[in-house]
């Protein structure tokens, strides 16, 4: 596999067993790459936001990390090893719109899907599995809905079910694709509380995030991406006017950039 080596300030300090380390990753759906030669390193026990405009390759980056899309080039290490050795330590919450919510299944069945690593194809679901899945549902405040068909939930409730499935995976690295898209303020608070709880337990959380106004409140680190890597590091250092301009180009109004990058925690 092609490995693109670049000299970077944070490369020398990068932990070889970092929860997630991405080197020279390039993913392409056709001629034009969606993600081009990016490097990122996640720091353990922190919450990281992936920020960039629509079509910047954020979802593609997560999918390539998880082996859902095949990379043209580059290397991904999860806790210092190949993903195939570490799948049990990684949980993924896809973009909510990526599935058909009319699918004939109940809330509890979706959450049990998070136990696939444990159950395998043939393992029987036993009472302790059910209790565990219910427990995950109650952590997102959805315990009353376990028997409901998933299409009969609001968008925010569906998002919580996805989060409960990820909790059931009991992973050390959480990758979430826009968990706050289309949810109301109460659900957003509930999800943030769960994510901060994961962080408090020493788990690493990486979230594709669009709302620049909450970046400082929710996250420790940020990765700015626009097909290529723009910058990465602690929000306080990296969330600057220059970097935002480089990420969004003309897509954010200058006044907006000004306001956001001056805003203090």
């Amino acid at each position: 596999m092609l490995r693109v080596v670049q000299s970077q300030a944070n490369d020398t300090t990068a932990d070889p067993a970092a929860p997630l380390s991405i080197r020279g990753l390039t993913v392409s759906y056709g001629q034009k790459p969606a993600v081009f030669s990016v490097d990122f390193t996640a720091r353990a026990g922190r919450m990281t936001a992936i920020v960039g405009p629509n079509g910047a390759g954020k979802s593609t980056l997560l999918k390539a990390v998880l082996g859902i899309e095949t990379a043209v080039a580059g290397q991904v290490r999860v806790f210092g090893a190949d993903l195939s050795m570490q799948r049990h330590r990684v949980a993924y919450v896809p973009q909510r719109a990526s599935v058909d919510w009319d699918f004939p299944t109940r809330v509890i069945d979706v959450v049990l899907g998070g136990l696939y690593r444990e159950l395998g194809l043939l393992g029987r679901v036993r009472k302790h599995h059910m209790d565990y899945a219910r427990d995950c549902l109650s952590r997102v405040g959805m315990e009353e809905f376990e028997g409901r068909q998933i299409g009969q939930l609001s968008g925010g409730q569906q998002q919580r079910v996805f989060l409960a499935r990820a909790l059931a995976q009991n992973a050390d690295l959480y990758l979430l694709d826009e968990p706050f898209a289309g949810v109301d303020a109460a659900t957003e608070r509930a999800i943030v509380a769960v994510l901060k709880g994961l962080k408090a337990e020493g788990r690493t959380v990486i979230v594709v995030h669009h709302d620049l106004s909450t970046l400082r409140d929710y996250f420790d680190d940020v990765w700015l991406i626009s097909t290529r890597r723009v910058a990465e590091g602690p929000v306080k250092e990296v969330f600057t006017e220059a970097n935002l301009r480089a990420t969004y180009g003309g897509r954010l109004a200058p006044a907006q950039i000004d306001m956001l990058s001056r805003q203090d925690g």
Partner: protein, 307 residues
């Protein structure tokens, strides 16, 4: 009707019809949910070159080589579709269209180039079947069901359809969890290491197997109807996949039995002389079942407000 007549003339076609309907309806549940339901139709095009090649290699028109040839053609088509999709980076539907038409055209050319006039290679038969002809001449009455000598004379389509149905049931049992997760959320399924490609490939290959076996025994019209109607009707009866699959088996059985009986006796009851095609009537009944489910099904869209 005497026991003899029923066992010899009606029971075998009815059982074959039921098995064919179930073998198609079972994978049909997943094909419909994956929006790949037309695959059953497309397979009729793909298998032709396989059947012709099997005939060229063996020089005879017999069942198993043709099934193997058809199955091989289905596998080749699946691999070709994957390859075209990846190399040409075009969407799955377009890749399928290219492969299916190309393979059908290849089959027709092969057929034209070979001297099939001396041997009776009846492609029409493979595509349209004739359920009523699958009779059991060795049957002497109900007792024949436990008589090994008489049982050996059962139409070969019956055993074949039963084997295919069993293979499909086994596949569903073994891969149930992976099928369910990957049909609902393919990205998540890949992320946890579900063998998504293997399962999707097997689903298509086994659907092809069901389609080919059923084509030969009962004709294309049933295959297309059974892949879609019982699963679609079953979806309207429940919101759980496990129960949906059970309903689809029930609807498939109902359609096959009711269709066969109505085709044989319905016209007589309303004063006509001749029976109508069983295959056509079975497909019609399955369509009626779907219509009734669409009007009265408890879980159709809008039937239920969130509690």
């Amino acid at each position: 009707m005497s026991g003899f007549e029923f066992v010899a003339l009606s029971l075998p076609p009815m059982v074959i019809g039921v098995l064919a309907a179930i073998a198609c309806a079972l994978p049909g549940n997943f094909l419909v949910l994956r929006r790949q339901a037309l695959i059953g139709d497309a397979i009729s095009h793909v298998v032709l070159p396989g059947i012709v090649v099997a005939f060229l290699l063996t020089g005879m028109v017999s069942t198993w080589p043709m099934m193997i040839g058809a199955g091989g053609a289905a596998i080749v088509s699946v691999l070709l579709i994957e390859a075209i999709r990846r190399l040409a980076r075009i969407e799955a539907g377009a890749a399928m269209g290219v492969v299916f038409t190309a393979m059908f055209a290849g089959g027709v050319l092969l057929l034209e180039q070979t001297d099939t006039s001396s041997v009776h290679l009846d492609v029409e038969h493979a595509l349209y079947g004739n359920l009523e002809s699958l009779i059991w001449l060795d049957a002497a009455g109900w007792g024949s069901l436990v008589d090994p000598v008489a049982l050996a004379g059962l139409p070969p389509e019956l055993l074949r359809m039963a084997v295919v149905a069993c293979v499909i049931v086994a596949f569903l049992l073994v891969f149930w969890r992976g099928l369910k997760i990957s049909t609902f959320d393919e990205g998540f399924a890949r992320s946890v290491g579900v063998p998504v490609r293997l399962i999707g490939g097997l689903l298509v290959v086994l659907s092809a197997l069901a389609a080919v076996a059923a084509f030969d025994a009962v004709g294309s019209i049933i295959v297309i109807a059974m892949f879609i109607c019982p699963p679609a009707a079953a979806r309207l009866m429940t919101d759980r996949l496990e129960i949906q699959v059970a309903w689809s088996v029930g609807f498939a059985t109902l359609s096959a039995v009711a269709g066969y009986v109505l085709a044989g006796y319905g016209p007589l009851w309303i004063g006509f002389e001749n029976a109508v095609s069983a295959a056509g009537m079975i497909a019609t009944v399955s369509g009626l079942v779907l219509a009734v489910a669409a009007i009265f099904g408890p879980h159709r869209k809008g039937a239920q407000l969130p509690r």
